[in-house]
């Protein structure tokens, strides 16, 4: 933690960054995001096992971009993968972000493309145990059981779009849900509207989602919607040997193709 303070102090002092996005003490022993802009505020930063939420989502917010790049971010491996994917999708460029990572209790600043990619590759996705459980649970289900499972789960959804706000890769200024000519996604949270929203969200993240889990954490009614994007990304990994978030100039899996893509269902 002390190392982080020194580093933050140094970055702000040399005006290397305009703001440092980190974790600070929240209410009831929880941590919350903090945006450090002055030297005095540096002491607010904390860094312990509670700090798991993906802070990269704030890099897309105009309010933060207003401060001007470069910006420092206290990062978990998921955050680094997100930043690499955002660079691949031309939302950020190399040098916009100073990524502070913790490696066996020393704090390193990653800026260059090679360091980011190398760090992302060395720290692949590790699902927490309960997620793995759920994935296995669904794998064993028959198609009918999965249908009822998802009907029940999705029935809870009331279209608050918290998942969209929490996801760092959902950065469209005008989302498909805002398009009403034609009305691609019905607004009301009835089965039609909910089904259309979650299918589109999963398809939009296929081959892009870096599985940080923020969407499930953000969902107020606790629907395990991360499972949908995890499944979508699994297909892309297995079928097209493409892993998102490890290559700064990788094209998106779904907007490219290989002539010998395998499939078993086209007649």
């Amino acid at each position: 933690m002390k190392q982080l303070h020194e580093r933050a102090h140094e970055l702000l002092e040399q005006k290397a960054v305009s703001v440092i996005i980190g974790y600070g003490e929240g209410t009831e022993g929880r941590v919350r995001p903090v945006f450090i802009r002055t030297l005095e505020a540096v002491r607010l930063l904390v860094w312990d096992d509670r700090c798991r939420v993906n802070l990269a989502v704030y890099l897309n917010k105009p309010e933060i971009r207003k401060f001007g790049f470069p910006i420092a971010v206290v990062s978990t491996p998921a955050t680094v993968r997100t930043i690499v994917q955002l660079i691949a999708e031309h939302q950020l460029s190399i040098g916009d972000v100073v990524v502070l990572v913790r490696e066996n209790d020393t704090v390193r600043a990653l800026i260059q493309k090679e360091d980011l990619e190398q760090y992302a590759r060395n720290n692949p996705v590790i699902f927490p145990p309960f997620v793995i459980e759920e994935i296995e649970l669904l794998k064993k289900m028959s198609i009918e059981e999965r249908f009822t499972y998802w009907q029940e789960e999705l029935a809870k959804c009331f279209k608050c779009y918290a998942c969209r706000a929490a996801c760092p890769l959902c950065y469209c200024e005008k989302c498909i849900t805002d398009v009403n000519q034609p009305q691609w996604v019905c607004v009301a949270p009835h089965p039609v509207g909910v089904f259309e929203w979650h299918i589109n969200r999963a398809m939009h993240l296929a081959g892009r989602c870096i599985e940080c889990g923020s969407c499930t954490i953000a969902c107020p009614v606790g629907i395990p919607i991360a499972l949908l994007t995890i499944e979508a990304t699994r297909v892309v990994k297995e079928e097209f040997a493409f892993t998102p978030g490890i290559d700064c100039n990788a094209p998106s899996a779904l907007s490219t193709f290989r002539v010998d893509d395998k499939e078993t269902f086209i007649r």
């Binding site: 999965r146 249908f147 589109n200």
Partner: protein, 153 residues
């Protein structure tokens, strides 16, 4: 009750499958009447949202067909489409929708007989599957939206 007649919509590409269907016509090959064709310039243009819309509004089955790989008039539309179909189909199956309701195929402009055969087979398979039960309760909500009057479809 009259035997269940499935309603099937076919999303086809203009250069190959639509022309193949034309050839079925000029060769006067009869086939089941349950299919309605929607013409796209290329399979690359077929949006998965339209497949969802069709099911929600009452389709029991959807055929999606275009040029064989390397035949595409736009060189790579079908390759892009194939990649999307692989992901979309797995996602539907994951969420519990029977993937056999969507029939993907390549039909070239010279395969008139194959088109007729594809339609007949599709009608037979969807008839066995019965009405699209996964979307039953969605249809009534669509009626609810219409009743609100705000829905311009």
């Amino acid at each position: 009750m009259k035997e269940f007649e499935p309603k099937i919509v076919a999303f086809v590409c203009n250069w190959c499958t639509y022309a193949g269907a034309d050839l079925t016509g000029t060769s006067r090959i009869h086939y089941a009447p349950n299919v309605r064709v929607v013409r796209f310039p290329c399979t690359g243009r077929i949006d998965y949202n339209l497949i969802i819309k069709a099911f929600e509004r009452g389709a029991d089955g959807v055929i999606v067909s275009g040029c064989h790989p390397n035949d595409c008039h736009y060189t790579s539309g079908n390759f892009h489409a194939r990649r999307r179909w692989i992901v979309f189909r797995t996602l539907l199956e994951y969420i519990g929708i029977d993937p056999r309701r969507i029939i993907f195929s390549w039909v070239s402009a010279a395969e008139g007989a194959k088109w007729a055969d594809l339609v007949n087979k599709a009608v037979r398979e969807i008839r066995e599957l019965g009405p699209a039960k996964e979307f039953i309760n969605m249809k009534q909500w669509y009626e609810f939206e219409k009743a609100l009057g705000g829905f311009r479809g």
